[in-house]
Symmetry: C2
């Protein structure tokens, strides 16, 4: 409980007690804010309340802020209902597409000055209230699609919610947001799913040669079809624009691969790969792409405490760990710890760890 | 030095002192085997020898086994030269495509019974002798493309090399190998590069919304164009077969996205995503796909020793860490440690860590 630090005066009404709604509720309750929960499913509502995400809304208190966290295809209808039922409240939603629900709302002719759409870039592999976490949004970007008709006070209230939940508000128009997520989320989902689909009919022997590359490319292909039909359907024009350009490049590459020895074919292949180099280099630095660090791989015996011993020894060597990733080779009696360190301590770290008997792998 | 455990009697000649050749040399030297190095570049040769990968071949000793580790487009010529120059030696190569060099060799009319092609599924982001490691191949699959004309003794010699280097020999015909790597390595490379290329012209604001999904999908897009032109060119027919099926699926999806509300469109989208679910589920269990474990995310302050303290406390709680991945949120004063544990200890781990004051994130 930390009421003094809260930017919001309660109560906040949360409509939809799934992963996002219940996480909003838990995060606000942790700051002592009164949370009024509503959900079409009585079972979801009870479960979210049991987890501490708020109390079922009995209509006894009037909310200043309403968070709509329902499936994408219900957003505009629920937002319209909430605006009508609570004529003094600011209403936001957390759907991952912003243009389509706004257009649907505009068709109703309602006054939308109290509606400010938003989208937290946060999620988990599992859904539902039981997967909710008070800390789900900490350190994440949260887009706020404010429009000229919104009073600044309404935008400020939504941004206060975001700051209270530990996220970073980023103001971005609905169309810009939708183009951005089409590029950094929706198109990669499709590219990954279609690649993974190719694996379905292969042999176990072929799949036994799979390394980290194909695993990384296809990791998000495990996503839920029902949710993605709604997301992709709601943002189709922006996604199609990216995928058409992608298909043009793919056709270009297929033509080159069909006759590798033709004039220009090898250059065409090299240009597609080099184009990928440029694109991946533009992603803000994080694991795997982070050029600020240099990595080494240490073999760690598969026994409790071995990784802790390695990290303790790195501390003794005064080496700060910038990043770490542990993997078990299938069937191997050890794991591989990939450690990122500053380039200037890399050589010393390699030497010191080797001197201490650690085995480094490639 | 561990000469007694070696399966090979030296000397072994290694032609090509880049990453793979020098790593073979280092691994064999670590077992006390005499390694004779050759490279078209005197600078590479000296560097590899300085790193301890072997001694420059002065022609004074006749090798029983020759490892050809030259760029893909040179493999067949160098293998043919080595077979002619060393009429008693078994020759293998380590190129990532096996059919094309074999076909080129067969065109020469040479007796190829002493040639056994192979391919270690191992590599690093950097190349060259300075990136070489004695442990590069430990725990990795290493395909051996034996043919009926090979005497078993020749195949055994190549497999002895592989076992000495700590890898696992997997016998697979050249065509099967090439179809497998087209699927699990070459097609994913193209899919990743083409997706990454789409990011090149985007805005910083859009890329600022990038999460782990697009990072994973595009990680291998950082690969070197020159090398990949050779690999893709040498395996083009197998790759084209996969990419044509991929493009058919993409066209199918584009048609559905062009008119989302048409009959069958949503079902078509769901089927593509569901097909990806099936494919990714067939990859042998490893990070991210491993259903044997359940993960939790712990916030770790960005100070030296904090991660070591977490791991030490997990040891005190008698929780065995099955997998670990650490990430720093950009601009955040903490990292997120994603920890995989057995499902039966998950709830206890969450409770105990929370009791000890660790903050868990979503």
């Amino acid at each position: 409980m930390n009421e003094s630090a809260s930017r919001l005066a309660g109560p906040v009404r949360v409509v939809g007690a799934g992963l996002l709604g219940a996480s909003v509720g838990l995060g606000l309750r942790a700051r002592g804010i009164d949370v009024l929960l509503a959900d079409a499913s009585p079972a979801h509502l009870r479960l979210a309340a049991d987890y501490g995400a708020g109390r079922p809304d009995d209509g006894g208190a009037e909310p200043a802020l309403i968070v709509v966290a329902v499936p994408p295809d219900l957003v505009s209808r629920v937002v319209a209902d909430e605006l009508a039922a609570h004529p003094a409240a600011v209403v936001t939603d957390v759907a991952s597409v912003k243009g389509a629900p706004l257009a649907e709302l505009q068709e109703t002719g309602l006054d939308l000055s109290r509606y400010v759409g938003s989208h937290p870039l946060a999620g988990r592999e599992r859904g539902g209230p039981s997967a909710a976490r008070a800390d789900l949004f900490i350190g994440r970007p949260w887009v706020v699609s404010a429009r000229p008709e919104n009073p600044r006070s309404a935008v400020n209230l939504v941004e206060a919610l975001i700051l209270d939940l530990g996220a970073t508000p980023i103001e971005m128009a609905a169309a810009d947001h939708d183009a951005a997520v089409a590029l950094v989320s929706h198109a990669p989902q499709i590219v990954s799913s279609l690649m993974a689909k190719r694996l379905a009919d292969s042999t176990d022997a072929a799949l036994g040669l799979a390394g980290q590359g194909v695993r990384d490319v296809t990791r998000i292909a495990a996503s839920e079809p029902e949710l993605w039909v709604q997301i992709l359907g709601a943002n189709a024009p922006a996604i199609v624009q990216i995928l058409r350009a992608y298909r043009d490049d793919l056709d270009h590459l297929l033509t080159a691969l069909d006759d590798v020895d033709a004039a220009g074919s090898r250059r065409a292949i090299a240009e597609e790969i080099a184009g990928g180099n440029v694109g991946v280099g533009r992603l803000p630095g994080k694991h795997g792409q982070d050029k600020r660090f240099r990595s080494l791989i240490v073999m760690v015996d598969d026994r409790p405490g071995e990784l802790a011993r390695l990290l303790a020894e790195l501390g003794e060597l005064d080496v700060n760990l910038e990043d770490l990733r542990l993997e078990h080779s299938p069937g191997a009696p050890f794991g591989l710890a990939e450690i990122a360190v500053l380039p200037e301590v890399w050589q010393r770290t390699v030497t010191d760890l080797t001197d201490r008997g650690w085995r480094l792998a490639g």
